[in-house]
Amino acid sequence: MSAAAEAKPIPLIFETGQPGRANAYFRNGRGAEEFLPASALRDDLPLPDNSELDVVRHFTRLSQRTFSIDTGFYPLGSCTMKYNPRINEAMAAQPGFRDLHPFAPTDLAQGALQTMYELERTLSGIFGMAQFSLNPAAGAHGELAALLMAKAYFRKRGEGATRTTVVVPDTAHGTNPASAAMVGYKVVSLKSDSRGRVGVDELKKALGPDTAVCMMTNPNTLGLFEDHIHEIARAVHEAGGLMYYDGANANALMGNSRPGDMGFDLMHLNLHKTFSIPHGGGGAGLGPVGAAAHLVEYLPTPIVVKRGGDGYAFEFDKPDSIGPMRSFWSNFAHVVRALTYICANGGEGLKEISQLAVLNANYVRAQVKEFLDTPYDETCRHEFIASAQRLKRDTGVRALDIAKALLDRGYHAPTIYFPLLVPECIMIEPTETESKETLDGFVAALREIVELAHTDPQKILDAPINTVVGRIDETRAARQPDLRWWPPRA
């Protein structure tokens, strides 16, 4: 196909159908009007009928316009875009899991309950928590659960009215303050110190009798290990607050250090990051929430328990629980994927995964620092940040332009403009599943882009040119929102 043909817009599915092209999935039997009064029925259903072939071509072509881990290197910082083993998919697709109804009787669902139980126990061990609930659907959902638990805990202790603030470092993910707001907590933002960490003295100034929770991730989003974490946790606990661990960066930790041992009371995990569940274009994820012993009673329901003689069961009735966070028990198909991944790797394998994730990040960082500034110049963990601030001053080329130039060269862009405290930030997380050759190719592409920025910056400012569309008018998208197709007026 020529480049011009490739760039031609793909018509919307609503613009391609014709009456009479319906697929024969169901018998054309009695109509709804035979069973219900006209007042209960809709007048029309303005959806197209497409032949199955046209549907196949449509979505196949859409897939070909979608960058993915399967098609290329995806160093999107804080998102842990590692390879998604296909054995996970095969396991989750088995009828005994896929077709099991959430209200199936307990005695007929023992395999599913055991799968949940074993994942829960394993996660608790790896991260040093007393117990997890597999209920929350994603990281931000797990965060929300944890903060609801903190709120319930303080309410029970009679401190609900006074403990109203949450301390969040300026390196935190945006979900942290947004989750805090959803439980009515006031957010106190904490400035990082010159080493890119939470400073204990600065933290102590922010703590007080109103402190409910301190939300942190470790390593933080700069890719740095919070080496004073013990003192931080002690200070928060002395102030009467709880420590919350954002598990987005857990891929750096396994077998090396546990949030529970660092002093965290609550945490969530993004199993779609660390445990290889496919990201699916933005979900579904799975965001279990974990608790230290003094908080397990507040975990969202249901909890899977192992009973003496009669196997596994759900516990629904827990008087101090915050209650359920979602319609049904868990994103169960993802429970299967995560347990499969854990069993495939074993304890030593998980430890090695984290070590290699750190090695790959440092290998890229050691070379990128030859041509881009890398603030906080020290060994990183699973990800690191570079800054295009000086490049922008010298050449006019920004982090955004570098990102677009990488797209032209067949790479997904790193996360850019996050964390917010680093100007022109470029956040790179290679993950452990990438080979040295892939990393070398990426570094070479990035080096070439930076060199070109100095010699012929317009070439970078014009990027991307090899993609099906060029830079998009985002202002128009926001000012004149076109969020759907409308049927032609009759």
Binding site: I13, A40, R42, V56, R65, I87, G125, G174, I472
Partner: protein, 458 residues
């Protein structure tokens, strides 16, 4: 690689302060090669197979429907499966267009103006929709029908406790629909941000607010929120916008997603244009690129957590994109004709089930209101719902749900579901089994017990 980094070992690279270093190996069994791994996990799956092979009349928010094989074949393409949120629009046009099509499908099905890229599931969609209404009105209380799915109401309460919102309930009338007789009095002081109703409701009954209720919503500026737990019903029933819902939330699992012991599913949130800037989560918009091409992009991000942090409309980041993609492909493959036929078969089979079950002496409909694909059945006085379900399970039939788990006054009622997958022969088998159970109860007055169900007693 270690030399490039300038360290001599991996241990040196990952060293952490001694106080927080893990001293013992992880307590996780050694790695399994893939062949043995497959055997281990498959054995767990096999322990549930019986439940998937029994005749099943379970529904209640999770529905077994026919999903043509083409849907999985397309959705499982690695480009879709292993992408992430389309932050880099130039290389994500395909997925962005698919989300734009999903948003459009939800608009066309609900009759509303806009829809988001998805939330976690039906219950969280309800919670998010309620928060939209709270933000729109500045009021701190919600009025929800008792006929809304009990799990959804529980989740609404979980979220409401965080935001310190009051949640009150409207009762259920004798015909199985929401009782609006007290509505005028309750809305009078304009305390409620929203009135929340589900149709078909938890009892399967079509439950649309009458004209008088709509007038009360309007005169008190209370936001009507429609909950749709069975999305396929939208193919046949009056869409939420037609009765005045400003926000429609629901569960899209029925559109091609398996029941999978509860997830992942896909929640949707749709609304009128006036609520556009309060809608949670991702939105895809259509714009143009610098070459004049049509181009899709994530938009109105000033609502979202990564820009607005604590001032965002929601904390949601990861949503259920892939489940929404499955639903989009399902809707494209079925089209209006397929959806209407599927919905009509659901209506046909639930009516057949209802008539046939009620032909067994002592069994009757609990409610008179018309249904879509679920019906509440009252069991004979000599039996209890529990005993009937146990008797059915002994005969390899999952007969439905005991309504008494959530509604003590309905402890003699079972919620039964029939979809296009339910055959006439399966209904015959159910009816024969109910006949046997009823006869046995009359003669002996007792029945052997089997363990209780997994789900949802609160």
């Amino acid at each position: 690689m270690l030399a490039v980094v300038g360290v001599s070992s991996l241990e040196e690279l990952v060293r952490v302060p001694d106080a927080v270093a893990l001293k013992s190996p992880l307590d996780v069994a050694p790695a399994l090669p893939e062949l043995e791994l497959g055997r281990k996990i498959s054995a767990y799956a096999a322990r549930n197979t019986a439940a998937t092979e029994y005749l099943s009349f379970l529904g209640a928010g999770a529905y077994r429907h026919y999903s043509p094989p083409v849907i999985t074949a397309l959705a499982m393409r690695g480009e879709f499966l292993t992408a992430y949120t389309p932050y880099q629009a130039e290389v994500s046009q395909g997925y962005l267009q698919a989300i734009y099509e999903w948003q459009t499908y939800i608009c066309l099905l609900t009759g509303l103006d806009i829809a988001n890229a998805s939330v976690y599931d039906g219950a969280t969609a309800l919670a998010e929709g309620a928060i939209m209404a709270v933000n729109a009105t500045g009021r701190r209380a919600l009025l929800v029908s008792s006929a809304v799915h009990p799990n959804y109401r529980d989740v609404l309460r979980t979220y409401a406790r965080g935001l310190e919102l009051d949640v009150d309930e409207l009762p259920v009338a004798a015909d199985g629909t929401t009782d609006y007789s007290t509505l005028d009095a309750r809305l009078g002081d304009q305390r409620y941000a929203a009135v929340i109703v589900q149709s078909p409701n938890f009892f399967g009954c079509i439950d649309v607010p009458p004209e008088s209720a709509r007038a009360a919503f309007s005169s008190t500026k209370t936001v009507p929120i429609a909950v749709v737990a069975e999305a396929l019903s939208l193919a046949a029933l009056t869409p939420p916008a037609a009765w005045g819902a400003q926000i429609a939330v629901g569960e899209g699992q029925s559109f091609g997603n398996p029941v999978a012991f509860g997830g992942p599913y896909v929640g949707f949130v749709a609304s009128t244009t006036e609520h556009m800037r309060r809608i949670p989560g991702r939105l895809v918009g259509r714009s143009v690129d610098n070459r004049g091409n049509t181009a899709y992009v994530l938009t109105l991000q000033a609502r979202e957590q990564h820009i607005r942090r604590e001032k965002a409309t929601s904390n949601i980041c990861t949503n259920q994109a892939h489940c929404a993609l499955v639903a989009t492909i399902y809707l494209a493959a079925l089209g209006a004709t397929g959806l209407k036929r599927a919905a009509a078969v659901n209506l046909q089979q639930i009516n057949r089930l209802s008539e046939r079950v009620c032909s067994v002496p002592g069994f009757s409909r609990a409610f008179a209101a018309p249904v879509f694909n679920e019906v509440a059945i009252r069991v004979p006085a000599v039996l209890t719902a529990r005993r009937v379900l146990e008797g059915l399970q002994e005969r390899k039939i999952l007969g439905g749900l005991e309504l008494g788990r959530w509604y003590p006054h309905l402890d003699d009622c079972i919620l039964m579901t029939a979809t296009e997958l339910t055959t006439d022969a399966e209904i015959d088998a159910l009816v024969a089994a109910l006949g046997e159970i009823a006869v046995a109860a009359k003669t002996s007055g007792s029945n052997g017990g089997v363990a209780a169900g997994a789900g949802g007693a609160r």
